[in-house]
């Protein structure tokens, strides 16, 4: 299926054949298209890594900045023009490692953005070192005897910091992934979508089969507005739940709380400067 987010000429990607990033890209474009999002109103703020390259392959606005810094950039964009739909995208190393501090505080702020994290439990671009989400005992060219640190749990962290939308998808189920992404875009407030996907080149342990065997779908009756239940789900790791684990749209967003928009709802670029009023400050 072609979407409005496709380029006329399909760009050559820098991904390995069989990589989960292809499905994520495809589904993201379709989800945005089905939501009738005008590409002119969308900005993808991306970091650096294989995952972050996604921004290169979507025909829209983008700010492909530094490794780890997609969230502050996205925050600046959204706060300056709340009319934009802003997606901050990157890998597990990008968002949870290098950008870990921003991850914490973006959640606390509750900026109305979608934070997509391609979680392959490894550093792909730098050829296979451990990432914050690598499982214990995962051996790499750098962690020769295997990872000894506890894996980072983005779902539990996000819920406990008050994230208003927390979901996990698997690139192997494009249908569910699309539904979740659509929900996330429609959600008002910060939305985390952590997407499991296999890195065929550098993660031979957490491969397609492993993800299939180690995940399950949340039950229809599961109440994803119950925070304590959601936290319990977040700590399930023998089999990881897939779906929207927690949602709560009650809190005001970051932009709504900004004093700059109290008396004037226009984005910053539409505003005039009143020099005479500024002169009065000098007295």
């Amino acid at each position: 299926m072609t979407t409005i987010f496709d380029f006329d000429q399909i760009p050559e990607t820098s991904w390995c054949p069989g990589c989960g990033n292809f499905s994520i890209l495809k589904v993201l474009k379709e989800a945005l298209d089905e939501l009738k999002i005008d590409p002119k109103n969308l900005v993808i703020s991306a970091g650096i890594g294989q995952a972050a390259k996604t921004s290169q392959y979507i025909n829209s606005n983008c700010f492909n900045g530094l490794h780890g810094r997609a969230l502050p950039v996205a925050t600046g964009i959204k706060a300056s023009n709340p009319d934009l739909i802003v997606v901050a995208e990157g890998g597990d190393g990008d968002m949870y490692g290098e950008g870990g501090n921003h991850f914490i505080h973006a959640i606390r702020r509750n900026i109305d953005i979608v934070n997509i994290v391609h979680n392959n439990m490894v550093y792909g671009l730098t050829l296979g070192q451990a990432s914050p989400t690598s499982r214990k005992e995962f051996k790499t060219p750098l962690q020769l005897e295997g990872v000894s640190s506890e894996p980072f749990n983005p779902i539990a962290v996000a819920i406990s910091l008050g994230a208003s939308f927390v979901a996990r998808a698997f690139s192997g189920d494009m249908k569910q992934m699309k539904e979740i992404l659509k929900e996330a875009v429609k959600h008002k407030g910060y939305a985390l979508v952590d997407i499991f996907h296999p890195c065929v080149s550098f993660n031979k342990i957490n491969n397609f089969k492993w993800f299939k065997d180690n995940t399950y779908y949340l039950n229809e009756n599961y109440d994803n507005t119950d925070k304590m239940e959601a936290l319990k789900k977040a700590f399930e790791t023998d089999k990881f739940p897939l779906g929207v684990i927690y949602t709560n749209g009650k809190n005001k967003t970051f932009e709504e709380n900004l004093i700059a928009y109290k008396n004037d709802k226009r984005p910053l670029y539409k505003r005039e400067v009143d020099l005479e009023k500024i002169e009065k400050l000098l007295n």
Partner: protein, 563 residues
């Protein structure tokens, strides 16, 4: 008594000396006196010893002096640290219990004023500050109605009872001040009343607003934090997005997102925070997103002397960020320039799409001074954002290196910024020819800027034989020293743009037989920069790096010794 009086208030942190300073300098200015004040603090919230110097003169003054004419002692142990600044003419004013025995039987003139008892008579020690304000007002014989009005204004939100008590307090102090009969008669100048009084911090904040700044984010770090707090106070009035970032890395990246989406954004920090921003600055360079950074210097390395002053971060600003790219660095030396240059920084960042850095320091930031009022209608907020068309290319190669910058939702094109080397459309490329074109394109912007470059200013004799070079906050002290020395062979070249070096640098330097550089650092960073670009060397260096600003006496003495 003389026409140039220096008052020092000495007390503990947390006592509220700042309140006294703010009230009295305004009252003095409004009475027609030239005033300048500066504060030196210990890095602590309570206790210790902090001093504020207030100079009152018939002439324009912008420098710190060592001498103390009137010392107001506000706590115990408030004299020892500044003992060497006392002279036989110094008048020490304070209550008996605050003045140590060894000063009592000495050459100094001591006037006992029981501040605490007076305060208790009014209602408690809390009134000590206002009594001190009254005392100083009485000493300078300021119109009492003016003083009362200022108190009413200051406490307007606190209710009638508190205001009345403070009026009582100020009158008590005022009467004491007059009783002392110190006979101070500094000439007044009616014109001063029309001047405006502000701090270094405010000069940057007001300049930013006048430059159209509508977005600021920063992580608190002395002495830079006042700027974001100033804008926070005016956030609603001027529609400024203000956010405390989780760290400086966030701040530098957030302002790039803001500019990208059409805001005019800045961040404010000190050396340590700026160091954390380096990668972000480099990112702004390649993505060609405008940024404005205020860097208020304090002595390093590392935590260094957190509340003191130094000009030690010029090299940091100059070389910050990996890779090679252009930048512009300003260093205002007075508050008029602080407003003008900060205002201009936003226009230049927008126009040339390069990082613009404003270098100040603790001395600049924490000083107060009055300046001639500025006509803000002279300012122009120049907006260079263009509407995009369908085939918009973000990094179009142009004659002057400046690619028209679009923003999302303004036009029919997509706005694609990229931190990798990229082609004109913003797509990743490793093509060596495009790489060369892009590097050259970015540097062309600096060449284009040279047409707008700000020259160094010559102060003093036009036919100088000896030229003193200074930059940033040493402006006031060097200027005053030159005026006092009144030597036909001597001039001062004040650099407010430190990078790129102004177009007239070589010309003004080569006219001199002897070159002296004055810097508040240990290695003469600006001297080295000048040498690197012009090949010219300084015969004499006057450097200071103990954390304090240069004093007027110090500069005069050093310059005399060199002639």
């Amino acid at each position: 008594m003389k026409n140039d009086i220096s008052i020092v208030l000495s007390g503990e942190a947390g006592q509220g000396i700042k309140t006294v300073e703010l009230l009295i300098i305004r009252a003095l200015k409004n009475s027609g006196y030239n005033v300048f004040s500066t504060t030196e603090l210990m890095s602590r919230v309570r206790g210790g010893n902090n001093t504020t110097e207030i100079r009152v003169s018939n002439e324009r003054i912008e420098a710190y002096v060592d001498k103390i004419d009137i010392l107001i002692v506000l706590s115990k142990n408030a004299i020892l640290r500044i003992e060497n600044r006392l002279t036989k003419d110094t008048i020490i004013i304070g209550q008996d219990s605050f003045i140590e025995e060894k000063y009592k039987n000495s050459q100094y003139i001591i006037k006992y004023v029981a501040l605490s008892s007076l305060a208790k008579e009014v209602g408690g020690l809390i009134y000590s500050n206002v009594i001190t304000y009254g005392l100083l007002s009485g000493i300078f014989d300021i119109n009492l109605n003016l003083i009362k009005e200022s108190i009413t204004r200051h406490f307007s939100t606190k209710g009638k009872e508190i205001t009345d008590n403070n009026i009582n307090a100020v009158i008590k102090g005022y009467e004491k001040g007059k009783e002392l009969k110190l006979g101070i008669q500094v000439e007044k100048d009616e014109k001063i009343k029309n001047q405006v009084l502000l701090s270094g911090t405010e000069s940057i904040g007001i300049g930013a607003l006048a430059g159209g700044c509508n977005f600021i984010t920063a992580y608190p770090m002395s002495p830079s934090t006042g700027v974001i707090q100033f804008l926070a106070r005016h956030s609603e009035e001027f529609g400024v997005v203000v956010e405390q970032a989780e760290d400086e890395i966030s701040a530098i990246n957030m302002i790039q997102g803001a500019w990208y989406a059409g805001a005019r954004a800045m961040t404010t920090t000190s050396g340590g925070g700026f160091a954390l921003m380096e990668e972000g600055i480099s990112n702004a360079a390649i993505t060609e997103v405008p940024i404005v950074i205020h860097l208020a210097q304090r002595p390093g390395p590392s935590t260094g002397l957190p509340t003191r002053t130094e000009q030690g971060d010029l090299n940091l600003a100059l070389y910050a960020g990996h890779g090679e790219f252009p930048r512009i660095i300003f260093a205002p030396g007075n508050f008029t320039d602080g407003i003008y240059l900060t205002q201009k920084a936003f226009n230049l960042a927008d126009k040339f799409q390069v990082p613009v850095i404003i270098l100040t320091d603790q001395f600049y930031i924490d000083s107060f001074q009055s300046i001639k009022s500025i006509d803000f209608t002279d300012f122009k907020v120049e907006n260079f954002v263009t509407r995009t068309d369908k085939d918009y290319k973000r990094y179009k190669n142009t004659e002057d290196g400046i690619s028209p910058r679009g923003i999302p939702m303004q036009g029919d094109g997509f706005v694609r910024f990229d931190s990798h080397e990229h082609d004109e459309g913003g797509f990743i490329t490793e093509d060596p020819d495009i790489r060369i074109k892009m590097v050259d394109k970015r540097f062309k912007k600096l060449e284009s800027y040279s047409k707008e470059s700000i020259d160094a200013e010559i102060i003093g004799s036009k036919n100088y034989k000896t030229l003193i070079v200074g930059w940033g906050s040493t402006y006031g002290v060097i200027k005053e020293a030159i005026e006092k020395l009144n030597d036909n062979d001597l001039a001062f070249a004040y650099f407010k743009q430190v990078y790129p070096l102004p177009n007239n640098t070589k010309e003004i330097l080569s006219k001199a037989k002897e070159l002296i550089i004055i810097e508040n650092n240990a290695t003469s960073q600006f001297g080295q920069l000048i040498k690197r670009y012009t090949g010219m060397e300084f015969t004499n260096h006057i450097l200071k790096y103990n954390g304090m600003p240069f004093s007027l006496e110090e500069i005069i003495e050093k310059l005399k010794g060199m002639q």
